[in-house]
């Protein structure tokens, strides 16, 4: 039996420590290796200070550094500055050129998956497909909340990939779309900012009941006379979808990498908010092969009162991944590698 789901981390997870100069990129890679998360997702615009200019020597240094820790690159997170100029948006040709620039650097780094920002137009990506094929890089449009797998905008990318009959365009799900429970870290932050506990509880209950967010926002803002923190908390519900985990198997041909978003792990290595316990069995059942890449985004919710310990949070998530993958493989049987 060969595990088909691999574990990795996005360097995004350590943004707090890197921003403050407390960890280098190599510290992050070394830590990832220490917990068996050998796949490294990189954000060149975060992690490579001379971006977009990288010499061949710099590219080799990166490859050697990652290999020195027994790790490998999994994905490259691109950005597209359509608003680079104040006076006008980038033209279509300029957008294509910018994406090609990233495809080339991605290829030079030996990375075969590129995370594409969700706002990039499917027809622009369609124009980039021949070059992505030449570079052998899969362009995966990030399915990020409040979008979800079956959002019409996402389906346009799927249609474009089908129309072009290409394996180099698809999606890249961000697990934030499976927010089954309201994150306790969000609630605590809003309470520190002045949300009354009973109003916070109302918002949590409304989310738990999956009531469409606009009802809750109106209730809090108008009927309950919500204060600034309470209204802001209610408005987070616009970005808190719980997509159906049972549908993810349908999209397996279109993705090879997952951004394993999370906000906080419990001490017992369970996630209080995101339904990994429902998603991972579906991935195993579908025989999906790819990397679950940790994307810790909890720092901004706790940094006002706690030291942020991204390593401990990521470590706990990987204990959970190992457990859920093993349980699902026992239940469904791991599929042999082709």
């Amino acid at each position: 039996m060969t595990a088909k789901i691999h574990r990795g981390v996005s360097l995004y997870s350590f943004q707090e420590e890197m921003f403050l100069g407390r960890m280098t990129v190599e510290d992050c890679v070394s830590f990832a290796a220490s917990i068996g998360a050998k796949g490294i997702e990189v954000l060149p615009e975060q992690n490579m200070p001379t971006f977009p200019n990288l010499t061949d020597a710099q590219v080799e240094e990166w490859k050697e550094m990652v290999a020195r820790h027994g790790c490998h690159f999994t994905a490259y997170d691109m950005f597209l500055d359509t608003k680079r100029r104040k006076d006008r948006l980038m033209s279509d040709d300029e957008q294509v050129e910018s994406i090609k620039r990233d495809l080339l650097l991605c290829n030079r780094l030996g990375i075969r998956n590129m995370r594409v920002l969700v706002f990039v137009r499917p027809d622009i990506l369609g124009r980039c497909v021949p070059y992505a094929e030449e570079m052998d890089v899969h362009m995966g449009v990030e399915v990020h909340a409040p979008w979800h797998l079956e959002h019409a905008w996402i389906l346009r990318t799927i249609e474009e990939a089908d129309r072009l009959n290409t394996k180099h365009l698809g999606i890249l799900p961000d697990m934030g779309i499976f927010m089954k429970h309201y994150p306790p870290a969000f609630r605590a932050r809003f309470e520190r900012q002045g949300a009354r506990p009973e109003v916070a509880q109302f918002i949590v209950d409304q989310h738990e009941a999956k009531i469409m967010c606009e009802y809750t926002i109106y209730e809090v803002a108008v009927k309950m006379g919500g204060n600034k923190a309470e209204i802001a908390m209610a408005e987070t519900l616009r970005h808190a979808p719980y997509a159906n985990p049972k549908r993810i198997g349908d999209y397996v041909p279109y993705f090879r990498h997952i951004q394993a978003k999370f906000y906080e792990m419990n001490e017992d290595c369970t996630d209080p908010a995101i339904a990994y316990d429902e998603v991972i069995p579906e991935l195993v059942k579908a025989g999906w092969e790819g990397t679950l890449s940790s994307e810790y985004e909890g720092n901004r919710w706790i940094q006002d009162v706690h030291e942020v310990d991204s390593r401990e949070q990521v470590r706990r998530q990987h204990v959970m991944f190992e457990r859920l993958i093993a349980d699902a493989e026992t239940k469904f049987g791991a599929k042999e590698q082709a």
Binding site: Y12, Q15, M18, F19, L20, G21, L43, E45, Q46, N47, P49, F51, F79, L80, D81, T82, K83, R84, R85, K86, L117, V118, F119, N299, R300, Q303, D304
Partner: protein
């Protein structure tokens, strides 16, 4: 996401002649999880005790040389790297006031994938000896 860290209060200093400062300077980091081209930094609003200083009084230098905010709009080949301190120079006769005062900074950024501008706000109460 990094608002509380964007002013480094330990770097505040006056500029110009010591006996008659013409302004002050301090270091700032970009409150964003990646670097950004300077053309997308729309405003750097510096304030003292709640009073915002004129846009023209502020210059920015991430290393190669100071630019005004107007000049930054077309500085397409320059970037403010992630986690990297840059220096803000602010013209103000007399420099930063002595004693306990509040220094504030608002960064207004044009982030292409967001439907609205992004604002980062920080303020630090500083006991300044001059």
């Amino acid at each position: 996401m990094f608002d509380k860290y964007i002013i480094d209060p330990t770097t505040l200093r006056n500029t110009g002649p010591a006996e008659a400062p013409t302004g002050f300077a301090f270091e700032s980091k970009l409150g964003y999880y990646r670097g950004l081209g300077l053309s997308m930094v729309e405003e750097l609003n510096v304030g003292i005790d709640g009073e915002v200083l004129p846009r023209e009084a502020v210059r920015f230098d991430e290393g190669p040389g100071a630019l005004t905010l107007d000049e930054m709009e077309t500085a397409f080949d320059r970037r403010w790297a992630f986690g990297a301190p840059a220096t803000l120079y602010v013209e103000r006769a007399g420099g930063f006031p002595k004693g306990q005062h509040k220094l504030s900074l608002q960064q207004k950024l044009r982030i292409s994938y967001m439907p609205f501008p992004s604002f980062n706000n920080d303020e630090k109460v500083i006991d300044f000896a001059g």
